[in-house]
Homo-oligomer: 336 residues x 2
Amino acid sequence: MKIIVDVMSGDNAPKEILTGAISARHEYGCEVVLVGDSDIMRLIASQNGYPLDSNGVYVEHTTGVIKMEDPPMSIRTKKDSSMVKALNLLADGTGDAVVSAGNTGALYTGASILVSRIKGFRKAAIATILPLASPVLLIDSGANIAVTDENLEQFAIMGSAYMEKVMNVHAPRIGLLNNGVERTKGSQLLQDTYSRLEENRSINFIGNVESRALPYGVCDVIVTDGFSGNLILKYTESICSFVMDRMNEIYSKNLLAKASSLVLKGELESLRKRFCPSEYGGAPLLGISKPVIKAHGSSDAFAIKNAIHQAIKYAKSGMIEHLSGISTDCSESEYE
Amino acid sequence: MKIIVDVMSGDNAPKEILTGAISARHEYGCEVVLVGDSDIMRLIASQNGYPLDSNGVYVEHTTGVIKMEDPPMSIRTKKDSSMVKALNLLADGTGDAVVSAGNTGALYTGASILVSRIKGFRKAAIATILPLASPVLLIDSGANIAVTDENLEQFAIMGSAYMEKVMNVHAPRIGLLNNGVERTKGSQLLQDTYSRLEENRSINFIGNVESRALPYGVCDVIVTDGFSGNLILKYTESICSFVMDRMNEIYSKNLLAKASSLVLKGELESLRKRFCPSEYGGAPLLGISKPVIKAHGSSDAFAIKNAIHQAIKYAKSGMIEHLSGISTDCSESEYE
């Protein structure tokens, strides 16, 4: 297993990305291809005693970087960037998966164009695990603002395959995010999607799911467009932190509670991190013909190591081969 | 001030509604018109020692009820229902405002048709206060799934007027809910709305607001369609309760903390209630030509009393007269 790592992208690049990649090499035994400025990478490596160019650690030199504020199509103009080079290496078969903490729009567009989508799947989607009562895969969590009922059906198929093959959930329960549980709720698009999902025998559709039910483990996959998905993802991160702050204020008024909160500090911090879904592990770009994992922009070495672990599981799962086998109903996709 | 109360609608009708109305009569000095089955209301009143038909408490007898599961247009077929009668009394000038804990769709449709909208306002919207770092008015919080940029602009105007005239917020900051802060973010509809809001000199538009910023008091009014608004409203209620449960689990592992949580029980419960925005007070139906307040379906007497208090403030505020004066740009509305 060889994981291609975009070392130059992300808020904490290159040092944290490089460190995370080396840790993953040690912990999981995977080979890593480090894509970025080799002078910089060698300097960091020598300062920290990391081995480069040996023992399953490879360096691919390139000098450019796609910045967080660059437009998605900068993948066309910044061909020497670490992200574009990483995606091209994946497309060429030099490695089994890409991990990048860079610009989401550019990674999504680059993966769709340079690596290409699975035949028959019209759009790729970003899938993110929400760490609620049980893990819920939110798909799409931000890539596609405008979708069709066919797109949403394909998101359901991809999300189901990911939860089954990568996360080992048997017959994942698929819910459609809507403003009521009745089949007549929501826009015409959602009503049409409901019919498609209901008729699709390859997935375990359980019906519409309201946002109020999400925390309580009623489904394993929640299907929605990228606008609503983004609303839920970002709101989850901030409202959970906000509620914890208010509770801590109450507990800090009482001396007993204040003392005990010091004892419980570690557990409280873990809970806070748990509710920041995009901070931990990474989000797979589903529908791409090879595994691409988006790590959070602010990833540290630990988060990058986790994202690489997820990339390994994804690459080993056989999920993409499974999807390639079932998708014969759509002949064209957007960038082909 | 005379408030018309739909006594027969809601999960806890008629007793809690009646009790809340009588309490409001005592506490705020308003007159109340109790609409419902007079035999039932008199029985409850005699059992509890409430005065009816005297001292500013009036009874309007009717036997029908619109149920929670009835379709919105049941206001056409259930003309003898307490909700329809209450709305007709408002339209006739028998009272100054209506409070109902009944079926939201029916109340919205009934208010639009029977009471009518403010001239020039094409759609009414449900506005709900989210009790975050500072109160944020979420408009629309569920009535209109399909909206135009003109509708969203009018929601902004109505929300601004409500926060200024009823909630006493000076120059309310208006945010547009979007998946990024840049003006080019989101659908064409949202980009067009951004331009309209920016050009509208009667409101204090601060730009796009992401869901992650909502808890932190960045705006006083958040403008969105009823689908996204409903997502946020219902998710707020459940995710906050979910986070509190997880924190309580951690604190209950420690004896000191467990002891202190008993001392702090009252404050913790208040916090939980705070995060259930639709439980407290009521949501005004903005854009209707007279004040209509939707109380939560599960309202108890205390919540009804609060909703009546809100109705009084709304009726006294002069907000509707203000909106009637400024809306001269649209000549027709949907039901006229």
